[in-house]
């Protein structure tokens, strides 16, 4: 922490008076403009604290490297073959985990009193939530590029090419956006950013590990296979693999879209209700 400069008192009262009397209140901003401005804020945070991006992608990046070389040979014959299978799944896992930061960021803003400022401004009231989500989707995209980039370095070669990868990314982002609403609810509900983090892992670990991200579920006990099969993450991973390597099943895509729609339908109104409840 640096301290105050040593110059004499810097507030010039006359100047201050001038600055205060001069200003006309502009017309209120529209919902879109307010949301975009708040999304811009999220961008600035990435610019000033780029580590937060690495923070959340470090784990998936590490698992990609480790799993590829540790288990690749045993699970798929060779690391190079395994990463073709693993990478779409790791991408899903990475992005699904990052969604927690939506709730963490929101809770921090409330905790710090920043939300008091936003909410006392004459803006469209859900704008802080929507703006945060806009910024988050951007953050997810950047993280996704990092994961896929590393994969390519390690030998990932999507058979469906760039277009397939972009479609897969889009689907993953749709799901992540929808999942984020859960964390908004959690962020509004719990007291500290740490509790958002802790409670999220209770959901995210089973959600991502009880899936087909790391291995083919065929070797699992039947009851577990059933769980894996209803997990939307499994369908998202299957759809991403299909989109990246060719041969996507429309059913998987539909599954993901329906799951996303349900998440938004339940948690978006709930979070808006909670957001307004106190006021």
């Amino acid at each position: 922490m640096s301290s105050e400069t040593t110059r004499p008192p810097t507030v010039v009262e006359e100047e201050l008076g001038g600055v205060l009397s001069r200003i006309e209140r502009p017309p209120r901003p529209g919902p879109v403009s307010a949301s975009i401005t708040l999304g811009w804020r999220a961008l600035l945070k990435i610019k000033h604290v780029p580590f937060q991006l690495f923070d959340v992608t470090a784990f998936p990046l590490m698992t990609t490297v480790l799993f590829t070389f540790l288990f690749g040979g045993a699970l798929a014959g060779s690391p190079r073959e395994y990463i073709q299978f693993l990478l779409p799944g790791i991408l899903v896992q990475a992005i699904v985990f990052i969604t927690v930061y939506t709730g963490v960021g929101l809770n921090t803003d409330i905790d710090k009193g920043l939300f008091d400022r936003f909410q006392s401004l004459p803006i469209w009231q859900p704008a802080p939530l929507v703006g945060a989500l806009l910024g988050d989707v951007l953050r997810y995209s950047m993280a996704a590029v990092m994961v896929v980039g590393l994969g390519v370095v390690l030998g990932f070669r999507p058979e469906a090419g760039l277009v397939g990868v972009l479609f897969a990314l889009a689907l993953v982002l749709v799901f992540a956006f929808s999942l984020s609403w859960i964390w908004i609810v959690v962020g509004l509900l719990v007291d500290t950013p740490e509790s958002v983090m802790t409670s999220s892992f209770l959901l995210l670990f089973p959600l991502t590990f009880v899936s087909n991200i790391f291995v083919d579920p065929a070797t699992m006990p039947t009851w577990l296979q059933t769980v894996v099969r209803v997990n939307p993450v499994t369908h998202l991973v299957d759809a991403s693999r299909g989109l990246m390597h060719g041969g996507v099943a429309l059913a998987d895509v539909m599954w993901v879209l329906v799951a996303s729609a349900v998440l938004v339908a339940v948690f978006a109104p709930l979070s808006l209700y909670m957001y307004h409840k106190e006021r």
Binding site: M1, S2, S3, E4, T5, R7, P9, T10, V11, V12, E13, E15, L16, G17, G18, V19, L20, S21, R22, I23, E24, R25, P26, P27, R28, P29, S33, A34, T37, L38, W40, R41, L44, K45, H48, V49, K112, G113, L114, D116, R117, F118, Q119, S120, L121, P122, I123, A127, E278, R279
Partner: protein, 350 residues
């Protein structure tokens, strides 16, 4: 003042009756109120944070809400700034009901919360541009306005630094600047100087005086009696969610009645002894000051002060300083709540 209970269902009717209520109560000199509250209540679980607060704050004044930790100051301000919905009672800000016309209220007020509500990850300039944009300025105007404010608040040098590197005083100034991107008609300042060193505190005081001089109504909360005394035209003393006294600081001091005798001894060792004599002569409670040689007591009748001086001289206790003055706000607070205000100040600076 009549308190009006309003819950969700009966709101419209209670607003009507409050409307009538107001017209009945208004005296010609009080017509121009910036803020008026009637029986405002808010509970959190079992805690009755605000318990029937009535305030009448004239337009263009600096009004102080004075109270110890947990008195309900923040809760009151948050309700007035439309951040919390009251459980009962009504409040209007410049004639707009804080529940029914929340959007209109938001368009006329600015809030500087108790904990600096600026984004620590952003620079000072970015914070102000952000607020400017959210108020409806174009990018260009928001930037121009941000730069004007940064200069006026002495933050030019720090404009492009992340706020997390700011000192407490700079952060506070930025926070207040963010509330002045457009000059609000009513400004809420929640403990604007808590935790600041004397120099930063003076700067913030200067800022508040300037804002008030421009015609903005300022409602500020504070735990510092000194601050309320210096800044506020009128104040309300609030304790346990109740307003326990209201008036100008002069009125409050006068209400406590007696003048106060302050004595400093040449020989601090004899303070106990001197205290006993004061008690005998005046028949009131004697307070030891924070300095080891200081004593104070309220004096029911001024002529008794002379008797104290004689009594001390009789036993050879030499007096270095002897003064009789109007009660300080500290003493007012003590008289009103039965607790000294020092307690809260210490707790807060810890």
């Amino acid at each position: 003042m009549t308190s009006i209970e309003a819950d969700g269902d009966s709101q419209s009717s209670s607003i009507l009756s409050a409307e009538e209520d107001r017209t009945l109560q208004k005296s010609p000199t009080e017509l121009d109120l910036a803020i008026e509250t009637n029986g405002l209540k808010k509970a959190f679980g079992d805690t009755q944070a605000v318990d029937g607060v009535n305030l009448r704050i004239p337009r263009g004044t600096v009004y102080g809400l004075l109270g110890p930790n947990g008195a309900g100051k923040t809760t009151t301000i948050r309700m007035l700034a439309t951040l919390l919905r009251p459980d009962a009672g009504i409040a209007t800000v410049l004639g707009h009901d804080i529940v029914q016309d929340a959007a209109e209220v938001r368009a006329t007020v600015s809030l500087t919360g108790q904990y600096a509500s600026v984004d620590e990850d952003l620079t000072g300039r970015e914070n102000l541009v952000l607020v400017g944009r959210l108020l409806g300025f174009s990018w260009r105007d928001a930037k121009t306005r941000a730069d004007e404010l940064l200069t006026a608040f002495g933050l030019d040098d720090a404009a492009t630094r992340q706020v997390r590197t700011y000192s407490g005083g700079m952060r506070r100034r930025l926070d207040i600047a963010a509330s002045l991107v457009v000059t609000p008609e009513v400004l809420f300042l929640d403990e604007p100087t808590t935790g600041l060193d004397p120099r930063s505190r003076n700067q913030v005081w200067a800022i508040i005086r300037t804002i008030a001089a421009e015609g903005t109504t300022v409602l500020l909360t504070t735990q510092y009696l000194d601050e309320a005394d210096r800044l506020a035209d009128r104040l309300a003393v609030i304790d346990n969610g109740h307003v326990i006294a209201e008036g100008t600081s002069r009125e409050l001091k006068a209400a406590v009645g007696a003048s106060t005798l302050h004595i400093r001894l040449r020989d601090p060792e004899r303070r106990e002894e001197a205290g006993a004599i004061l008690r005998d002569v005046l028949g009131v409670v004697v307070h030891n000051g924070t300095d080891r040689d200081a004593l104070s007591a309220s004096v029911p009748h001024d002529q008794e002060a002379a008797a104290v001086l004689t009594a001390l001289a009789d036993v050879g206790i030499r007096v270095a300083e002897f003064s009789l003055g109007q009660a300080s706000l500290d003493e007012v607070f003590l008289a009103l709540t039965g607790r000294p205000a020092e307690d809260t100040t210490e707790e807060m600076s810890a």
